[in-house]
């Protein structure tokens, strides 16, 4: 079974600094997708960034980038120049595509606090 582990229940960062959120996953498949979602307090969950497992190049999206280590099954999220609006729960998720079926498995989340 696929599992996703986020070992940091809570993290904090100073405004304008850089923070890295950890995520590891367990799978025997070679074709899959990885996502980071952001869920601000009482607001909608939104996609931050995604990575296809077959791509060696790490995905980037403005201030957000990932460090994808396929052999180590690691998928960390780096937030540069942190802003107050980055404060939220961040969920790492794994999507398995298999025979027309697809399921998204989430980690338990990391609560990020941004200090002014």
């Amino acid at each position: 079974a696929q599992t996703v582990t986020q070992s940091q229940p809570e993290m904090s960062v100073q405004e304008a600094e850089t923070v890295t959120l950890s995520c590891t996953y367990d799978t025997s498949e070679s074709d899959y997708y990885l996502f980071w979602y952001k869920q601000p307090p009482s607001r909608q969950m939104i996609l931050v960034i995604r990575q296809e497992a077959y791509k060696q190049q790490n995905a980037t999206e403005n201030r957000f980038s990932v460090n994808f280590q396929k052999a180590a099954k690691s998928f960390s999220l780096k937030i540069s120049d942190s802003q107050l609006g980055d404060a939220a729960m961040y969920f790492c998720a794994y999507l398995l595509l298999q025979g027309g079926s697809e399921k998204l498995v989430f980690g338990k989340g990391t609560k990020l606090t941004v200090n002014p």
């Binding site: 979602y37 909608q44 939104i46 996609l47 999507l95 595509l97 697809e102 989430f106």
Partner: protein
């Protein structure tokens, strides 16, 4: 933000009541999902649909039921609500076209409290 909507946003009801949580999307997505999320916890898939008249149960057992009569709607029903159903319910959708991103877009959620 994605064009996916959920109503009501908040619901407080008594035990034994029948409730329906609405979810609709205007993106024409074939695939839709329901997740259950307890406060501060991860999301668990309870139902999914790959198209009209197609519904499947997810990994987390749930007493709720779903229907998919129209592409854009994916309502979830609890015939007799109990306090154990208190949770947040999130609806999501994704494309199924070849070459699509398979990204799931989420609605704002319904926070359900059963007294």
């Amino acid at each position: 933000e994605a064009d996916i909507y959920q109503t009501p946003r908040y619901l407080v009801i008594g035990t034994g009541k029948k409730i329906t949580l609405e979810c609709s999307q205007t993106m024409g997505h074939d695939k839709m999902y329901w997740y259950q999320q307890d406060p501060g916890m991860e999301l668990h898939l309870i139902h999914y649909s790959y198209g009209v008249n197609s519904t499947e149960k997810g990994d987390l057992s749930s007493e709720s039921t779903v229907s998919r009569i129209r592409t854009e709607h994916f309502p979830l029903t609890l015939e007799s609500a109990r306090p154990s159903h208190t949770s947040q319910y999130l609806c999501a959708s994704s494309e199924s076209l070849p070459g699509s991103t398979d990204t799931q877009y989420f609605g704002p959620g319904t926070r359900l409290t059963v007294l």
